[in-house]
Point group: C2
Chain length 279, copies 2
């Protein structure tokens, strides 16, 4: 197995580490020369992509979304006939559009969008972990790929330690990710802005810690992700605001029955959703 990994940040470098441990030879590239050298040093890659002999089985683009197209265009020629390209970007509709354009030119290549459900509050190769994907879900959105290539890729991800591979459409991915990830980051980031946060020491059990964990984030990266998925994200955010306003009204009116009904509704919903997870 020969794999190219383009973009050696948290995701790319972590993937390189685990793929190498699993037996693959990994060729890497990063626009930052220092990162590229460090990747060899920390065992995230074997060699730089320039030294690769144009027979990669798999090409992983782990750059920012806006760098996907130029990176893919530059390194696609390194894939063997019947090889597969996947990306690790956080939204899948924009990548799908790029992949469709590229697929018209590279007709013998499988194009599959990807998003590993793993991350950290800290970024970059220095924070990469060989176990980052252990037990994580991998979402893939096939754009133009034969069923055997999809099956092979699925088995490969499972062999690396992912617990499941979810196959879906770019549209469905983007709708779900707005809720399960992007909205969390906005809420957490806004939560910490209360002046009371400065005086909270000694007053926090687990809930404050959990609510504010992802307040820390890479503003540039998350801005790109959020703006690219702004339609879905704004829908979720506005719905949350509307729901929060109901609690505020009940508090303002001192209306115990209304507040209790709101809390009970959320409690019941949490229980039924967690049950659904187990079925």
């Amino acid at each position: 197995m020969k794999i190219g990994v383009i973009g050696l940040g948290l995701m790319g470098a972590s993937f390189g580490k685990v793929a190498r441990k699993n037996g693959a030879t990994v060729y890497g590239y990063d626009i930052d020369e220092e990162t590229l050298q460090k990747a060899k040093l920390v065992g995230a890659i074997d060699e730089t992509a320039e030294t690769c002999e144009k027979d990669l089985d798999l090409l992983v683009i782990a750059t920012y979304e806006e760098q996907f197209y130029p990176s893919a265009e530059r390194f696609l020629p390194l894939l063997k006939h019947g090889g597969t390209i996947i990306d690790f970007c956080g939204n899948k509709r924009t990548i799908a559009r790029d992949m469709k354009k590229l697929a018209a030119k590279y007709t013998d290549i499988n194009f599959i969008g990807g998003h590993p459900m793993a991350g950290r509050e800290v970024a970059g190769i220095d924070n990469s972990l060989i176990a980052l994907f252990d037990g994580a879900s991998m979402v893939i959105t096939p754009i133009k790929a034969d069923i055997f290539a999809i099956d092979e890729l699925k088995k490969y991800f499972l062999s690396l330690g992912f617990k499941e591979v979810v196959i879906t459409t770019p549209e469905n991915h983007d709708k779900n990710i707005a809720f399960t990830s992007q909205l969390c980051h906005i809420v957490s980031n806004a939560y910490i802005k209360s002046p009371t946060a400065e005086n909270h020491f000694g007053y926090s059990a687990g809930s404050y810690k959990d609510l504010t964990r992802v307040a820390r984030l890479s503003p540039k990266m998350w801005t790109e992700l959020m703006i690219s998925n702004a339609d879905n994200l704004k829908t979720e955010l506005d719905l949350l605001i509307a729901n929060l306003e109901k609690y505020s009204e009940a508090l303002g009116a001192g209306d115990k029955a209304a507040l209790c009904a709101l809390l009970a509704e959320g409690n019941d919903r949490k229980i039924s959703i967690d049950k659904g997870k187990l079925e």
Copy 2:
């Protein structure tokens, strides 16, 4: 050390367990007869409070807020001269008012409000844990107590496994707790109400899990807590809503610079607040 514990739910029973392990004799009471019997069975108490010989060193009222006054009135006569009463209720201003009334009558008793910063998403004696308070903060709000009694109580809590005892006013406690606990529960409870929550399986890394953990709660208990602290809680909630609306506006306008500035502000604030914690 002889301790009375009134109300043998999650908090009271957990406290009874750890106090007994630490060497105290614990006398308990609960309005529910089955809970009271169970408390003896699981080792949360030694005997029922009725059997106590009116020489308690410490009386802990771990009931709902509305039950504090009648419970205190009923069991205060069991305290020895110079003994201390403390409660474990989630707000401290209402308790302070009750304690002031009682202190006029019981002039030889120390009155101290208390709130252990520990909890679980599940309630009741069946979920009580001997280690519930390990490493937790204990907030106390002395109402009428001599300095030696406060110092003794502080040392006692530390000997049980609490990591720190914070001494403050009821007003300051209620302002902080609205932010670090009550608001978390509203946000989490509202978050889970999006229809997208039903389809999230396979799309969640840690952030969704953290944001929705405390969506599950006891509606009755939290309604009491929140209504009793409605002024502080509504202030925090409305501020959060106002902050969230800024992100929504930036998303609606597709304004990258504005969104990035909002995210950077939250990120910087989280980092500086976490640093403050270490100092």
